[in-house]
Symmetry: C2
Subunit: 419 residues, 2 copies
């Protein structure tokens, strides 16, 4: 797992660029960046072949051009990501191992404290969304990418672009995505004939699964026209269009009364400042005895999304802490029944995605361009590393009205099939 | 369940007190109290037999003396509790049903909003702890009550004064307390030879269970000398004194390094303002790979403890929301792995306690006095009603270091024994 750079040699031409030899101050600046990152176990190789080697390790970041250094001084995250994408920075050794070592080191440095102020200082200088560099054009917005792109590396059948659930580590991606949907439905204790509101449809997979397996009627809201069109088509194909209504609209316009509310992988895009409004929407649509489940990427501590991911891959994304999610629940007197952290399941899901992505790497290069293809590799590998090193979490939060008997009092039923 | 007043007639003598007939304004004031409580489905009978009957119901609060009304106008909760304890107020019909109807009504009124400001206004007038009325002397502090009192109604064997866990509804109290300890140990994934820090020992039951069933070495902190003496005695009796150290000291003085931290039923007494310090203590004592579990009464929304409970039964007690607990976890980068809400298990536990308590009611009257015995009945029944109507929750929060593999990635193992 984790692609080695050596298989993608188009960047090596950069190494013979006409940059002059690094100056003493530039070597010193690299040392400062390494200090900032808490002295991670990796080597930096400069554009003239100079090696800055705090540790004996083969994991090397190769800066093929001088400008990479200055980009990283402006913003370490964006400088690293953009340079990796355009090939002016490459990694020698396993990309994932490199990123895990780096994230661990930054995490521990942040924990020691001194570094945080500096990092914040540098982050504050990140480019504004409206002044993004040309690299931005290379990273198409998530919603423009088209179903054909996601089909290359998501699961067959349900096209779930969210964390799967692995009842055992040997499950396939397809099995694990079905197990995730099954887990969500069991937690919600769905019963035939009930009405379910879904905020964020994706490609409609969970709605189809709920309608088919649990006989519920689903109204699902989504703002992506491409996804809605695909979802409607699939529901018709499966004869489920009488059970599911896909609505191309914002979750804030959700109407009707429901037995259950479910949202898998949307909260990341809502923004903390809108959580109270989301809570009001849920409160307004849940019957007595109603229950809900929110599945979202989260954090242990409040912290902005990584700058590069936020500006290049997921504009506006923010993974909340459990505490930050409370404005959804507390003002509406919702009882939180169950919180499960599936962070390491997301690492496994992403590992499966990245494996398939690498098999289709050349196809992606042709669909888009090399910088896009490399950027998405970095995004997938970086996400794995964030989950394995604890920088990201995955919370499934189950809640209900304060006096509800719709949910069983133990979790035995969730695990009755387990050996 | 829930004792009827008719079996305890000592209060009826009050009915012939020499209070004059209620004035029109007094009847109006009773109506205002009922409005404040959201028009609960109950009748109020005044000291002369006048009935104020918003609903057709046999559930009646009988105010045997005029002073009950004025006490309740000063502070509805304390006025009600103190008057119930001293017998100047009694309930006709099932006490628990009465309290559930009342709590539900107050909850819904609070939710509608208008009432909240008024309630807060009245609560602000509650007596300061240092100016408590004579009733306070009747309610002995929790720690002075002695083991003999608790032995009357807690489980045999482990004397757990915390929420039990009912794998099935038919479990006995003894089975359910063992199942609770088993659940806690499985969640923590304790392994023989590991070291466990416990904050709040109670009578030492969980420490004994962990040492005996899981072969761990426990250091347990408690500030009650009576409980510590009992716990040490029991550990010696069971030959576990080599495995368990009971320390008569505050959790803040916890020293050493541990694989696991556990605290069952102590957080309620810590106070929100000390949660960050508690988090620091946990952070300071947990090894890499360490994990912890905090089991506490909680709430859906931040709200002071009921005035009567807080001032008469549990001085200083405060059940936090999940959000309010975050200063324990977030600053220390703990990953929250699992939150389970066992609120309805606490209702069942309390029901078992109250059943045994009623069987020993006369013994309690003799050990203490009638007012004490009635106050504890109200406290137990009121707690049941608070859990069944959603006013109280019971959170078990499992957490670990951000990069830890000590905990399994699914919960299958927790429920492997379930049918």
């Amino acid at each position: 797992m984790g692609a080695s750079e050596q298989t993608h040699s188009f960047v090596n031409s950069n190494q013979t660029g006409n940059d002059t030899a690094p100056k003493a101050i530039e070597r010193w600046l690299v040392e400062q960046l390494l200090n900032l990152a808490g002295r991670p176990p990796l080597t930096v190789e400069l554009w003239d072949g100079t090696k800055i080697k705090p540790y004996q390790t083969d994991l090397t970041a190769r800066l093929h051009r001088r400008r990479v250094l200055y980009r990283m001084l402006r913003n370490p995250s964006i400088g690293f990501g953009d340079s990796y994408a355009d090939g002016s920075l490459s990694i020698k050794g396993d990309l994932l191992t490199f990123l895990e070592g780096l994230y661990r080191s930054v995490r521990d440095a942040r924990r020691r404290g001194g570094v945080q102020r500096l990092l914040r200082h540098l982050q504050a200088k990140r480019p504004r969304p409206n002044s993004l560099s040309a690299a931005r054009e290379n990273i198409h917005s998530h919603y423009d990418l088209g179903n054909d792109f996601y089909r290359l590396w998501l699961d067959d059948g349900y096209m779930q672009y969210t964390c799967a659930y692995y009842p055992d580590p040997g499950a396939t991606l397809e099995q694990a995505q079905i197990a995730k949907m099954n887990l969500v439905c069991r937690k919600l204790n769905l019963k035939p004939g009930e009405r379910v509101a879904e905020a964020g449809s994706g490609w409609g997979g969970l709605a189809r699964y709920m309608a088919r397996q649990h006989g519920v009627r689903v109204r699902s809201y989504n703002i992506s026209a491409a996804q809605i069109a695909y979802a409607r088509h699939r529901a018709r194909q499966d004869g489920l269009d009488g059970m599911i209504e896909y609505i191309e609209d914002d979750y804030r316009n959700l109407t009707g009364e429901y037995d259950a509310f479910v949202s898998v992988g949307m909260l990341e895009h809502v923004g903390v400042e809108h959580y109270a409004a989301l809570g009001k929407v849920v409160d307004g649509c849940l019957k007595d005895g109603g229950r809900g489940l929110i599945h979202t990427i989260g954090r242990n501590q409040p912290r902005r999304m990584d700058d590069w991911i936020e500006s290049r891959v997921f504009p506006g994304a923010y993974p909340p802490t459990l505490g930050e999610m409370m404005p959804i629940f507390e003002p509406n007197d919702f009882s939180i029944v169950d919180v499960e952290n599936l962070g390491l399941h997301y690492a496994r899901t992403l590992t499966h995605w990245l494996q398939r992505y690498e098999l289709n790497f050349d196809t992606v290069r042709e669909m888009f361009d090399p910088a896009f293809a490399r950027a998405w590799r970095l995004y997938l590998a970086g996400s794995i590393a964030a989950f394995t090193t604890g920088g990201l979490q995955l919370f499934q939060v189950l809640f209900q009205r304060p006096e509800s008997n719709a949910l069983p009092q133990t979790r035995n039923h969730l695990y009755a099939d387990a050996q």
